[in-house]
Symmetry: C2
Subunit: 545 residues, 2 copies
């Protein structure tokens, strides 16, 4: 974990640097998908060529916002607007690269305090100006899309980046209050200076913020050990057009319905989370990460379930299916990977599934938990692969989105989707989703390569995560993915999966929320929204139509 | 755990049998409180003398309800009405014993299915008739009080006792669906026949129901191990005047705000929970319960915190303060208790605090966890007391409410209250509450004896539970307790405790909910209620004014 906030995202992609497609993956994509891995790169549009409409914030609102947060913190230069015009889904990246960003916010407001957030929301609500809360901008489901009800409506992005103080560290109760704009590395560095960790490491860790983690019901890669973000939060402050909601930071209690769990996952439609109080822990003295190969997918799933139900769940728990394993081995090309493949063939793992497990804590407890888990490894027929593959995974754990940009340069469709479901349905959900994606993309003339993994395991079920690779259908790249995503989401709901385990709803899943929570559930959410946001200015088009 | 549902509660108290006040407690109450433990018992009113108004259900509503659920299941005989006229708080017991039950429901409706519940609610909503959802009737915070907006309003209790089927046992995912009316022993017997347990054992276990557990955000005595009820529930069906809300039973996911956690703790103001799907486990092969003495309260609290933060929390975790320990030792009068007292004095525990810990599971995991915890026992200066006191606690774990009736016969005030708070505030909260109760009750001329215990421990804090004993102020018994409770609750909120850890809000805590969740939080709850219950017939006066 690095010591400070990383440089900003490239405006059209991820991270601050180019990465190369590993040679093994180049070969695989060329051979299996017929991808052109050698031709001219399909480069993104240049910033100065991006098309946006003229900013059209009503002058009175603009001057009021300037009075509230200071002139320097109401910005409408091109780069600022483009940087707040999209998240980081595949569709967002297509849009950004195309340079047609006409829906970009009219301005970006950067309040410095909870009170300034509240003032901003009141001014926008009074003026009927839409507000998109903005943290890291890493949503992969359209969560920060600048959607207007009609072309005449003004829209601002409200960026919480200046609300970044660590407050109220309670070392006895192990809680701390995070400003909404604190990014993952800064959270860890700030807590680390006190010997503590939050332990929240989603793939978006480097750029995503504390407020965004709460607003989207985020779950990190070590959530089996440290808890999902909805479990880590004990209190928060939400600023809404109707005023501030404070949920006092307390241990679990029984004062009626959980307002905390009503705000967590509200994705900006009720207001802006300005602070969260979280449960923290001492930094672990020991990290023990290792990989195993399972003889087949069913044994792997059984092992994951056995560990979750024992319960002896490692803090990081992740099982790649045969395809994801094959892609990983291709990417890890080299002497060790080749040796590994040969060794597994000898041991009878012809379609191996690689599992990564990580234990963190003090030496005693890590040792006891590893010993406890080992009998399940034996009975599953697991073959130990040692620490090297697990270390490689740790090194590359935030790497996927960097690689994605390089694949988009090669005109590849590359996107992920995920769900959670009961153990009794897990293999059916996987089969159904794979079948739907293969059918739809093959019909489009672009048969895909789809790997999946099981992670975030619970006693009753687990998360299932899919990575889809295919050639783009040139000229209808958006439609190609929209159709594939539609059939995959239909398949998830039909087979009994959740609409999302940790990506959230955003705009992409909104059409399915009604099926997931029924008319009655949507009505309840709409009633809440009316109460917090009577003028319906908060993050239009997310969660609710 | 017994095999079937217990006989009904005595209409005026708890259980189906008399219990005697243990001689040691008799002496202590006589000596320390000046209680008259030998005079004539203050017996409750006879059922035939109870005063109720004539039932006044509008005839059309009555015939519609009969058509919906069957004539036999719309009852308005005296006993049925009185049995649904109060919960089991101290104030409820005073009321029941007095025989003045004029607010009793006009009728009690017993629907057999979710569809019949929905039909009942729609009929009552259309007729403007208040509905009090009724499970075990064990609320200690006024949760089933038959409150009418005005004297002309009709009111029915909706008893879910006929919705009592176990359905959809999924042994792979370890989930099962419980009818809302299943009582604790019947839940355990039904699951036990499949080798499973829910592990939910609140003190009200024998009478309380699955629906009530969910509606009140219940936590059982083994919640540190098995989870609070809000963690055990993965899905539910809520019937409301505006229709049914189904929350599909799934592992954790990120489909917006948690509708599940909005219904849990809603205490009947949104509708009636007709079914809950819960996470279950195999019945434990081994139970290991034992007691320890701590040299003083601070060491005990430190031990509880160390175990919770290790984390090495036993499944049952409970630390009595010096007064509660003294009362327990008095009640346990006998050779063993006397030996124990002498032994602890020798070991320097002059104001000992007894802790009960219980571990459940397979032999390996219990052994490992007990070994892990033992170093914390040593560093806290704990003295092992063996299994006997823990076994006695297990035997008597549901016994408190039986004893309370016998103490009321002796004109004693006996009531409990509880909160949860952060570790950094725990001793301050305890001191503040004790001071408030001592001051108020001493001022009333009835200095109290107050024991407390820490239980339900978390990494960030714990629950604090108080048991108050005092002589009654004859002629103003209600006012005596209302005033004491008011000052105690003010003290809890002022010192930074939760309004309740697991008793809920009901009517008793409603005046404090505004302070706890702020105007904005109350407004959000009211908005939800309007959406589910537009005619405001559901459980009036609970949670919201």
């Amino acid at each position: 974990v690095s010591a400070g906030p990383p440089p900003p995202l490239r405006w059209w992609g991820w991270g601050d640097r180019e990465v190369a497609v590993p040679p093994g993956l180049v070969g695989l994509l060329r051979d299996e998908l017929g991808a052109d891995m050698a031709g001219a790169a399909n480069a993104p549009c240049r910033l100065e060529d991006v098309q946006v409409f003229e900013p059209a914030l009503p002058p009175l609102l603009r001057s009021n916002l300037v009075a509230a947060v200071g002139g320097f913190h109401v910005r409408d230069d091109l780069e600022e607007r483009v940087r707040h015009a999209a998240g980081r889904s595949y569709l967002d990246l297509l849009q950004l690269r195309s340079g047609i960003m006409t829906a970009a916010p009219d301005a970006v407001v950067h309040p410095a305090t909870s009170a300034e957030v509240l003032a901003t929301l009141r001014l926008c609500s009074d003026a009927g100006c839409a507000v998109v809360p903005f943290g890291g901008g890493t949503s992969v489901v359209g969560g920060v899309a600048p959607l207007r009800r009609d072309a005449e409506t003004a829209l601002v992005a409200l960026d919480v980046d200046r609300i970044d103080a660590l407050r109220d560290v309670d070392t006895v109760s192990r809680t701390a209050t995070l400003g909404a704009g604190m990014r993952g590395p800064y959270i860890e560095a700030s807590l680390g200076a006190r010997g503590m960790t939050l332990g929240h490491f989603p793939q978006s860790f480097e750029y995503a913020t504390a407020g965004g983690f709460a607003a989207t019901r985020s779950a990190g890669q070590a959530s089996s050990g440290y808890g999902r973000f909805d479990e880590l939060v004990s209190g928060l402050r939400l600023q809404s057009p109707a005023g501030e909601l404070t949920v006092d930071a307390l241990p679990p209690h029984a004062a009626g319905p959980s307002l905390l769990q009503t705000v967590i996952g509200s994705e900006g439609i009720l207001g802006v989370i300005s602070e969260v109080t979280v449960r923290v822990r001492p930094r672990p003295a020991m990290l023990h990460y290792a990989a195993w190969s399972l003889p087949d997918y069913a044994s792997g799933v059984q092992l994951m379930r056995d560990l979750a139900q024992a319960p002896l769940t490692p803090d990081v728990t992740r099982l790649a299916d045969p395809t994801e394993t094959r892609v990983s081995l291709a990417m890890a090309q080299g002497r060790l990977a080749a040796l590994g493949r040969r060794y597994l063939t000898v041991r009878g793992h012809r379609r191996p599934c690689v599992a990564i497990f990580g234990w963190e804590g003090d030496g005693d407890s890590v040792g006891a938990r590893v010993r406890g888990a080992s009998r399940f490894f034996r009975s599953a027929g697991a073959v130990a692969l040692g620490a090297a593959p697990a270390k490689a995974w740790m090194r590359d754990r935030f790497h996927g989105p960097y690689l994605r940009d390089a694949l988009l340069d090669r005109r590849l469709l590359v996107e992920t989707l995920e769900t959670s479901t009961l153990w009794s349905r897990l293999e059916t959900v996987r089969d159904t989703v794979l079948a739907a994606l293969h059918a739809t993309l093959s019909e489009a003339g672009t048969p895909p390569l789809i790997g999946s993994h099981v992670s975030h395991v619970y006693a009753d079920g687990a998360s299932l995560y899919f990575t889809v690779l295919a050639r783009q259908v040139e000229g209808s790249e958006r439609e190609q993915w929209i159709e594939a995503k539609r059939t995959a989401t239909d398949a998830i709901l039909a087979a009994g999966g959740a609409i999302s385990h940790h990506h959230g709803v955003g705009t992409d899943h909104t059409p399915w929320l009604r099926a997931a929570v029924s008319d009655r559930g949507l009505s309840a959410l709409a009633a809440l929204k009316r109460d917090f946001d009577p003028a319906a200015v908060m993050n239009p088009g997310k969660l609710l139509d």
